[in-house]
Symmetry: C2
Subunit: 340 residues, 2 copies
Amino acid sequence: MMAKKRVSIKDIAKKLGISITTVSFIINGKAREQRISEELIKKVQDYIDEIGYKPNHVAQSLRLGKSKVIVFMAEDISNQFFASIARLIEEKAYQNGYKIIYCSTDNDHEKAKELISTFKMRNVDGFIITPTPNLEKDIKNLLDEGFPVVLFDRWIPDVSCSHVIVQNEESAYQGTMHLIEKGCRNLCFVSVMSTQSQMIDRARGFRKAAQDSNVDYQECLLKFHNLAEIEPYEKLLEFFEQRPGIDGVFFATNYLAFEGLQAMGVLQRQVPEKLKVVSFDDHYFFNLYKPKITAIEQPLEMIAEKLMETMLEHLGELDKVYKPVKVVLANRLNERESTL
Amino acid sequence: MMAKKRVSIKDIAKKLGISITTVSFIINGKAREQRISEELIKKVQDYIDEIGYKPNHVAQSLRLGKSKVIVFMAEDISNQFFASIARLIEEKAYQNGYKIIYCSTDNDHEKAKELISTFKMRNVDGFIITPTPNLEKDIKNLLDEGFPVVLFDRWIPDVSCSHVIVQNEESAYQGTMHLIEKGCRNLCFVSVMSTQSQMIDRARGFRKAAQDSNVDYQECLLKFHNLAEIEPYEKLLEFFEQRPGIDGVFFATNYLAFEGLQAMGVLQRQVPEKLKVVSFDDHYFFNLYKPKITAIEQPLEMIAEKLMETMLEHLGELDKVYKPVKVVLANRLNERESTL
DNA sequence: TTTAACTGCTAAAAGGTTTTATCTAAATTA
DNA sequence: TAATTTAGATAAAACCTTTTAGCAGTTAAA
């Protein structure tokens, strides 16, 4: 099964009895500029169409130092949120002639570091990253070396890097206020122990709402450092069993909410009659579940759009000193208590 | 923000006052074979370690004609099933020095065709594909040109191509039998109108089980050609409203089951007391939903493992005539009626 | 003594582009 | 008439590797 040799610009030149340079100029639309005769332009173009020549991207990459590849480093590509973003940026990338290589960091600093170094030498043109803890230095290096980088989902305060995030604090505040308005007086915030900006902001929003309203609250932070170190379900079961007074729970992410809802079912806590729930990160199932669950929906399309917009902007500005672009998007609270 | 020029093999050679060739041999572990002196080997290696030289993969690709990139063409990367597979093959690909570029076909022949042609000229080393309808010719071309191709989720009978699929017919049979054993006597098969092998096989398994057991059955096939052409929820609502006698439903995919369950809720059909449900493609949510839903679980890890195993095997055998590898994996029926 | 093989290393080609500098002949300008 | 410009093209370098063929000097085999 021999792979036929692909036609190169050289073959075309030889066949047509002209120079490689001329062919290249014509292919790249620089023919007029280089005063190639209309006659020759047509002849070459016709031949190219006839044989269906396509330039070798690897050779182009080598010559130009650009690969038309963007790397998408998510925490976990199989997570619904990241998979959705992946899908959406794919569209825009391909429209602009870029391909996307993906990889998952597992939120592990070492792994992320290694991935970054691998991709640097791959001549990728840009990085879209959900930064892991302690990645500041590596991001900084990347920027210093002139790579376009756009962070999302979370950001790093110490580094001046473009990012696209959402209003975590504001939305957590709003979601918590929603619980209070519905009558909750003994709140609980369920999250993972994390130094990530989005988690910290969500916690802050929750606390502020509880304090502003003079409502009792507590926090349940699960350790998630080494993956599967702890079973969130069992931990939550234990936590809520010991605290029957809680009447409103704010989950910082949807997967925590799923586990929490399981626990509520087992503990016979009636949702939403006895205990109301709000979760960050809306999900198809919150609408399907009985009862429907109120959740904060992130603007996925907008995130993806801004991510690629920012990336493409930076890609165009390569070699210039570019100013970081910082985008903060609003979320939507989908109230579902009334709709059963 | 100037990108510093990366060190090349040439720089090393000049710095050390030796030839490029020698450096290359040492880097590629061919030093002994080429009888380079131990002394020189050490000197070069030490220097390389010191400056942290990494070879330019683009130049290597050009020279070797291999890119160490595999393209993963799924129907929709944001779909939980495909996203999970993506995650799993990522592991194995990276372990073997391969990167993965993803793209989504939307099950659209034209789009898939275009993507394939784009990637061909990108010098990708291999293709993992969920084939769209009418893709036979393009797959065949790919194979003729010597590209390793592995299909999954579905396959194409007319083309002799490696693939990794599951026992669709057998599992559909088993799932249907499960409904019958639980007492269902008026079955319904819900699927999409499709010529894809996996859908056809699932339908066949369902029918066979119903016929073997002499049980009444009907089929509800939704049109899904142009995406969003029809709202499955509304269609299902109407369908089941008109057929109150149905007491067992087999959903061919999980997203149909989700929509169907919504409809059952609205129609006040008690699941599982009055109407039992089995779905293909298990999902986290089937275990969370009340009642829990019985479903057929595909062996994701195994699929991913076999996919990459087959791909790597083919990649090693390039330029040889290789025999297609055909893997068919068993699924697991997760019965959940009793566990509430 | 001639031939063959080994030693330790290197020059140069090849892979397919893009782009700068340059060429010749014809046309224009001074 | 001489000097300059223009038109229409091209040679060759550069991007960074890998690999084949070969160098000159020495040693072993025939």
